[in-house]
């Protein structure tokens, strides 16, 4: 049995040798020996509760000034951009309104034309001929009673 174990060990050693050779080929750094190092840790409690905080007034002033300058710059930029932007927007709106007005005026013209056509003497005569009858000479035409008269008669009943 020892012979078999030895054989297996021999096979394993061979595989390991091949793998190590492959690993070596892949990256030499992994095989580099680490230097011997020792770490020393030292812990000491520090009390800073009574340490006074130094006020950096100058820095604050600088910060405020920077902020103000940035805000002013932003405002100026906005104001500068606002005018053309508004102008652009308004002119666009104006053009739209102009176009709308032109369209409406054109529609008005078309409607006026249609109205004139409907109220032309020819149309009115045609309409009258279709809807009304000219009474013969001497005929008595009884007009229908007024609504108020009808209502009064109904109320009496």
């Amino acid at each position: 049995m020892s012979g078999l174990e030895a054989l297996l060990d021999w096979f394993a050693a061979g595989k390991e040798a091949v793998a190590s050779a492959e690993r070596r080929e892949e990256c030499d750094a992994r095989l580099r020996a680490l230097p011997r190092e020792e770490l020393f840790l030292y812990v000491k409690p520090i009390d800073n509760s009574r340490v006074p905080c130094v006020a950096h007034r100058r820095q604050v002033a600088e910060w405020v000034a920077t902020s103000m300058a940035a805000a002013a710059g932003a405002l100026i930029l906005m104001a500068t951009l606002m005018v053309p932007a508004m102008s652009f927007r308004m002119s666009h709106q104006l053009e739209s309104l102009k176009q709308e007005r032109a369209a409406l005026l054109n529609e008005l013209r078309a409607l006026r034309s249609e109205e004139a056509q409907l109220r032309s003497a020819e149309k009115l005569e045609q309409y009258a001929g279709e809807r009304f009858v000219a009474p013969p000479p001497g005929a008595v035409v009884y007009a229908p009673p007024a609504k108020s008269t009808v209502a009064a008669l109904e109320g009496r009943e």
Binding site: R101, A102, L105, N106, L108, R109, A110, R112, S113, E114, E115, A116, Q117, R119, S120, A121, E122, E125
Partner: protein, 681 residues
């Protein structure tokens, strides 16, 4: 050694190559210099032409309005569907899809047109009109087709005539280019069409438009308001058409005018045309360009007697009651053509001459006055002069100069001309000229300018209007008012008892004169006439003057033109809401009192100058009492009568001497106060 020689040769070759390259670069540099510097302008212009395109933006044509403000002609902005044939890949498929949408009956025709413009004789064209004035629905459907169908929409305008054929000869029409070719549209074309604008756009290599800007805004045309009344115009056209057909005439015209200011209320011609038709028939095209009322003068015939009689009275040579011997129907003239009357008349007074329309009577008046006076009065009435109405190609009529320049001058009056001109021969006038002449009688002796335009305005962009002044020639006095009133009275009798009975209007008094000029053509007299009737109503304060002319009719003026006058005048008076001055049911056949012969008048004068007793007013009558006009001048009488609303008839001149009915009477409806004036008490 060999190596050194080789390297020197290589160096030489390199230098030669470099030299050639430098030379080429120099050539390129020179050409660049030429293109960029020397010919910069030329190429810049060529590039500009290729990239920037300028299109004209048509101005919106002004409106033509009737006197009630309704449009007679109006332009509406529309869009037309167009296609670039070069961008159509498959003309057959395109035509099959697009033709039903745009209303083309035969798609193959559209496909053929596309093929022609793609590869035919018109190859290269980038424009094909698919449909003019597309509707919103059509636009939506065409847009939905997508980019496979490169249909564009081009701005366009449509001229609309909402009243159809009504007033066609007044309003006119426009041609395909939008320019007027008849009527007001032609005469005032420059003012109506406005000023076109300019639009530029930037185009790519394929001529795709991707940026555009307005170079010059278009200025819309002026709006023009006319004196035309749509209802009177419509009825005038209708009654004229009926009259032409009934009388068997070939053509005719009707002019209705306000005698007080010359405003033309209606101007109708027959045959007429439809201004909406873009492709008129040959007959319509002919009618479109012949406005008979202003362009075609004709012999007025007996209506000219009105002027002759007026001349006789105004010059003081004759009075209405002056007797004239009418030669029993034939007036032989030594060495000249004899003058005949239709009927045989013996003695007629001047009124009778006009009422019976005696040629001999007016010829004698003209003989007594002489040619110079007749010519002067013809001119006073505006015969032979353009009226200045705002319609194209107005004729001045025909009135030859009375005085000859020399013995060889043939274009002047002969020694007999004034005899024939007295009854409307050897002279021609248009219907508008006749309307102006009769207006002189109707308005009391003022020559007015017939005109159509009563207002102009320039539309603003915000839909408003800026009114513009209209220049109208003020009326000019050419006659004494007494003469005009006397002739007016005579003309009323023409309607009541003379040749114009068919012109009597129920409910209104009317005056007029018939005319029937026989047509002389190709050396012989035809059995056809230019029948006419000129008249006014109501007699006491005329509101309308109507002239009716029917050309080449076998009937006479009293039978053919007078009925048309009656119908047109009746409508016009109703539309203008003129109060009736006669009983409506029974048209007055005779005035309450007619002028009597000289001897009888004297007796009547004497009788009336005695203080008449005022009859007791009838309880049924209400209204102002007739004042005492005696002893007052004409102007004062007319002023007071107008204030009281009393219809007055005047005869003579000077101061009022007699009146009927007497002062204090209340007038019955339809009655008039007759006042006789004379210079001597």
């Amino acid at each position: 050694m060999q190596h050194r020689e080789d390297s020197q040769q290589s160096l030489r070759r390199a230098r030669i190559a470099a030299g050639i390259l430098c030379l080429l670069a120099l050539v390129v540099a020179v050409r660049l210099f030429e293109f960029q510097v020397l010919r910069h302008k030329e190429f810049a212009e060529a590039a500009r032409r290729q990239q920037i395109h300028r299109v004209k933006v048509p101005a919106l044509r002004g409106e033509v309005l009737a006197r009630d403000g309704y449009p007679l002609a109006i332009s509406v902005r529309t869009e037309s569907a167009v296609v670039d044939p070069q961008q159509v890949q498959d003309p057959e498929f395109f035509a099959r899809v697009v033709a039903p949408i745009v209303g083309i009956d035969k798609p193959e025709k559209l496909a053929e047109a596309l093929r022609e413009k793609k590869a035919g004789p018109k190859a290269g064209s980038q424009y094909l009109l698919l449909a003019a004035h597309v509707t919103a629905e059509q636009r939506k459907r065409l847009q939905a087709l997508g980019s496979a169908f490169p249909v564009r929409f081009a701005p366009d305008t449509r001229r609309e005539y909402p009243n159809g054929t009504t007033g066609a000869h007044v309003v006119g029409a426009v041609d395909a280019d939008g320019n007027g070719n008849a009527g007001i549209e032609q005469k005032l074309n420059e003012e109506l069409k406005g000023q076109e604008g300019k639009l530029e756009f930037l185009a790519g290599a394929r001529q795709d438009r991707y940026l555009s800007w307005v170079v010059q805004e278009s200025v819309p045309g002026k709006n023009v308001k006319l004196s035309i009344d749509r209802v009177i115009q419509y009825d005038a056209e209708r009654f004229l058409a009926e009259g032409v057909k009934e009388s068997g005439a070939e053509s005719g015209t009707v002019v209705v005018m306000d005698p007080r200011n010359g405003e033309v209320l209606a101007l109708a011609n027959y045959p007429t045309f439809d201004p909406r038709r873009t492709r008129p028939t040959p007959a319509e095209a002919k009618a479109r360009h012949s406005n008979i009322a202003v362009q075609i003068p004709c012999e007025p015939g007996s209506v000219m007697k009105m002027i002759t009689v007026t001349m006789g009275l105004d010059t003081g040579l004759f009075r209405p009651e002056t007797p004239i011997y009418c030669e029993n129907g034939a007036f032989p003239r030594p060495g000249r053509r004899a003058i005949h009357d239709v009927h045989r008349y013996g003695m007629l007074d001047v009124s009778g001459v006009l009422i019976k329309s005696s040629n001999i009577g007016v010829a004698k008046i003209s003989l007594a006055a002489g040619p110079a006076r007749l010519y002067e009065y013809l001119k006073k009435f505006g015969i032979g002069e353009r009226t200045g109405i705002e319609l194209p190609a107005e004729s001045r009529g025909i009135l030859r100069p009375q005085a000859c320049r020399d013995a060889r001058d043939r274009n002047c009056w002969t020694p007999a001309s004034h005899e024939y001109i007295a009854f409307g021969h050897e002279v021609s006038a248009t219907a508008v000229q006749l309307a102006r002449a009769v207006a002189v009688i109707a308005n009391g002796g003022l020559l007015v300018q017939p005109h159509l335009v009563i207002g102009k305005s320039r539309p603003t962009a915000d839909g408003g209007e800026i009114p513009e002044p209209v220049e109208i020639v003020p009326p000019r006095r050419v006659l004494r008012p007494e003469t005009a009133f006397a002739v007016r009275r005579m003309m009323e009798r023409v309607v009541l008892e003379g040749t114009g009975k068919a012109a009597a209007i129920p409910g209104y008094s009317a005056g007029g004169k018939t005319g029937s000029a026989e047509i002389f053509e190709n050396g012989r007299w035809l059995d056809r006439h230019n029948a006419s009737f000129i008249g006014f109503a109501p007699v006491t304060n005329p509101r309308i003057v109507v002239v009716v002319t029917l050309n080449r009719t076998p009937k006479l003026g009293g039978a053919s033109a007078a009925p048309v006058f009656r119908k047109v005048a009746e409508t016009a008076l109703r539309v203008l809401q003129v109060p009736m001055d006669q009983p409506e049911t029974a048209p007055a056949e005779k005035p309450p009192e007619e002028p009597k012969p000289a001897v009888l008048l004297t007796q009547a004068e004497k009788a009336s100058e005695e203080t008449p007793e005022a009859p007791a007013p009838t309880p049924a009558l209400v209204g102002p009492r007739v004042p005492d006009f005696r002893g007052r001048p004409l102007v004062a009488v007319l002023r007071e009568a107008a204030l009281l609303g009393l219809p007055v008839e005047t005869t003579g001149r000077g101061k009022a001497r007699a009146q009927s009915p007497p002062p204090g009477t209340i007038l019955a409806p339809g009655m008039r106060v007759q006042v006789r004036f004379s210079v001597t008490p």
